[in-house]
Symmetry: C2
């Protein structure tokens, strides 16, 4: 059984959103699963000295154009949210908790939350919105609401983020395939080569 | 006659080097020419506040791995030069002067200089090395040596770099296709879509 593809994402990262369907499809094609790992890029930026892409002079303007064009290229609906970036720590805690529970709704929740933010322009860090998404997916919303306030999940998410940074995760989407790091949705073609024929 | 693809490159940029053959092939396939435009990224970094990729914590280590792996993915020989980055202002002046002369050796010089740096680990900013490359290509090396010391070419390169920044060129390779900006060798698939079927 080949190892899962590790997929680090940040709920406020447009390129993470753009990579979702692509990585799922590649994994399915090559008989892998995807290990969805919520990340908080803000913590990584403190280490790398980098900042929010859209706020960088010159690069910021280009990036907004590139998000939208890349979405059209991939055939994925996309609208830059009115609040961007967004602190998504609650969303990340919710995703981590569902994953810890072994919930079958764990990956659907990630997809649904990304769509709520990047298509529907909803504040996915808001507990009420998280509750609505949970309801829609048949997730126990009271349990989820309690979980994201739990001291334990806060600590565990923090530890996961620190472990990710220790592995060199400085941006998102960030993938490890058999331990090999790939950064960016535009590395999916290289990931496919790796999955098809091994290290190159 | 469709407009040329504008291709901004920096001689010290690994991803510019990796894009050379790809952009030439795409242009040929779709009946376009490529307008090679030497750029100095250092000037753009002053505006954007960005720095040399390999020197950024976390991202720097990854980038070195990605340069080499991307080169293998594309089947292009590559070795990170022992001196990296490198001030390539002389090389850029040489390329600009050859272009201004309408020399048929102008694009071959760019390819040759990139190979000298990223395959042969030579200091391509050194006047003696520029002379050797010129010799090899049958370029009048005395005229080229004089040209890169000329006050006029210095001013014109500076003006070109400033004009590039004014257009939003913050990194390299950077392309404009019918005015549409594309940054990175990994945008070649999007450029191909544009060339094949127009704006999307």
């Amino acid at each position: 059984m080949p190892a899962p593809i590790e997929f680090y994402f940040d709920f406020a990262s447009p390129y993470s959103y753009l990579a979702l369907n692509g990585i799922d499809a590649l994994a399915a094609k090559y008989g892998r699963s995807v290990d969805y790992k919520p990340m908080l890029l803000g913590a990584a930026f403190k280490v790398s000295g980098q900042g929010v892409l859209t706020e960088i002079p010159l690069k910021g303007e280009y990036s907004k154009r590139d998000f939208a064009r890349s979405a059209r290229f991939l055939g994925v609906p996309f609208k830059l949210p009115s609040t961007f970036p967004l602190n998504t720590v609650n969303t990340a805690r919710a995703a981590l908790w569902l994953k810890e529970q072994g919930s079958a709704k764990s990956i659907p929740f990630v997809h649904r939350a990304f769509r709520a933010y990047f298509v529907e322009d909803r504040n996915i860090n808001d507990a009420a919105v998280i509750g609505e998404l949970a309801d829609e997916l048949g997730i126990d919303k009271a349990a989820l609401a309690a979980a994201i306030q739990d001291a334990g999940i806060k600590e565990r998410l923090k530890a996961h983020v620190e472990a990710a940074i220790a592995r060199g995760v400085f941006g998102a989407p960030f993938f490890f395939v058999d331990g090999e790091p790939f950064w960016g949705h535009d590395r999916l073609p290289q990931i496919e080569r790796w999955l098809a024929s091994g290290p190159f």
